[in-house]
Subunit: 394 residues, 2 copies
Amino acid sequence: MKQIAILGSTGSIGQSTLSIIRKYPERFRVASLAAGRNTDAAFEQCVEWRPQVMSVATEELASSLASRLKAAGVTGIEVVHGTEGTVKVATLRCTDFVVSAIVGVAGLEATYAAVQAGKPVGLANKEAMVAAGEILTAAARAKNVPLLPIDSEHNAIHQCMRAGEKREIRRLWLTASGGPFRNLPLREFDNITVAQALKHPTWVMGRRITIDSATLLNKGLEIIEACRLFDLPPNAIKVTVHPQSTVHSLVEYIDGSILAQISVTDMRLPILYALSYPERVESDLTFDIASLGQLNFEPPDFERFPCLRLAYEAAEKGGAHPIALNAADEVAVEAFLDGKIPFTAIPRTIESVLQATPETHPATIAEVLALDREARQAAANEARRFAQHASTAR
Amino acid sequence: MKQIAILGSTGSIGQSTLSIIRKYPERFRVASLAAGRNTDAAFEQCVEWRPQVMSVATEELASSLASRLKAAGVTGIEVVHGTEGTVKVATLRCTDFVVSAIVGVAGLEATYAAVQAGKPVGLANKEAMVAAGEILTAAARAKNVPLLPIDSEHNAIHQCMRAGEKREIRRLWLTASGGPFRNLPLREFDNITVAQALKHPTWVMGRRITIDSATLLNKGLEIIEACRLFDLPPNAIKVTVHPQSTVHSLVEYIDGSILAQISVTDMRLPILYALSYPERVESDLTFDIASLGQLNFEPPDFERFPCLRLAYEAAEKGGAHPIALNAADEVAVEAFLDGKIPFTAIPRTIESVLQATPETHPATIAEVLALDREARQAAANEARRFAQHASTAR
């Protein structure tokens, strides 16, 4: 029986993780949960799962949740809050496995604490690996704890890497759906609307990640994540555009063999894989090969998707640069979603911020967070500049 | 340094194996060779490779080769002949690895002898596994020697199986190019000419295997081979028609993940894999993912390709049935290539022979060979019947 802690239990990955735990009660049990501001969902999770500890965003939310639980006669759950609370959830002694699914850099400290406490971590929080990958992987190596990717691409690579040794890998191939603008001519990129950008062809996801899929910055973050997670240089990570999103990624070995992983597009599969690793567990997440139909692969267009190039550059420099890439993108996407800057100003904002980013390598999570704040500030200034420019142009 | 013995050194797989050994002189060396009737090629191989032992088909050919070598001043090579000679090549003490590439059941005794002598075997001889798979795998298990498949499909499966445990496999998917008649309407099958059947869309191969690819009997043999090699029941082996022959086969795990192997269509790759296993060795047999283009997968048509059904039935019954399937097919294909029977009489011949095949399980290679001879006789009779029928119909 594995005791699971979930950081980000009310989010999409958190809920999918709970659906897996619900399905395999003989294998997994909820140890503790960290939610955010959604105390209604947190309350319901407390009722259903009876975690040892439940963390929410603020002290106020925590005391309101605690009263509600008391009124409902639900006892024995310690309600905590804030970063300290999340860290507590991540490091509880009885926990065997931590699912890190708090979006953005917010989950960083708790994820680091889990690794330091020797807990195997399932990483659904891409930004953690992008911003603090060097620190996290060094800690994981020192503590000899596995970091298991919970996203379809890196999970696919993790599976394909089992067919050989790390030194036998020539390169990794991340598949990209190509997003909604795969076939849009470059000259029309300036006129992309928010509604157009939010229509992802194959996955239903949050707003930021959907825009990141449209700019391919999402794939850029995955390039950096792959470098850190699998300890490979950026030029060993390639991207291939595969609109069907059926092949989740590939590993090319030095002998010329390429291993690919194929499955349904359902996050419960990488979650189940991470929770049960090194075992595999029977599931009904079946993919029908007979219906595989047609698969296409084509090289990505670096001209229409400059975010890819920016990501490679940030990966190459390391240190503060991936942090700035991620932070600047989050700010720029926000500005785009608010209708303040055009789609093409997203990569431009990121590029400006990267150019001003110092060549430093943070040694602690606190330094990572400080660099993240600086980059956000710089990005906000840049985005304002592009917004003024856009409104002047109108 | 691995000392390699090659059974069938002048054939296509034998020559490809030698080209691999030529390329990696620091890793592999020729221990001994078994050729057949092509003593010109055998002579040249003796000159280039200086094997400890060279075996040819008959005593006459052996003495002629020995004289020729003596005249050329090539000394130190023991020239032997016949089954006994091939067995000697397969079991030489200094040999670390045996490539079994004699087509048909001819290589069976030597392959079995190699396993009995504790030599790891690279199996390019599909018929050996079909006719005597139960005996060969039992011996390999008893001696704890690996049997490594040297054909693109089973080699792909061997690679994909490394991503999990055997008990975690739900089923295997063998890819089939579908042959030249993939899209031919059933009513036109009676009029298929030899020339049409010899045109294989993706692989250049020998005549029998090309016809077997057109009837899909080849895939049927591979189903049986997979059952034996990977110790799985016939209903766990599926076929998917994949005209591009780029994905060489797939393994579906119980969690819903499917691993696929992709590479160039070049037999040197599975040969290199088998020779260097468990290591992988750098090669220039590179497949360009960017040029992967379009891949198609569709279910096979059991009505137009009855050989598939016959193979599943033979696999299910085991024992004498796979032997009869293989033997009857070889005879029927020969009759088709000689213009004696129509294309559609190939499966009919096999079916008649299978219906008359006894439900026995041979315990020795000698019994396998006896059953093989009986099935050939029965198939010759059946083919004659179809030939008369065809000439009467004209």
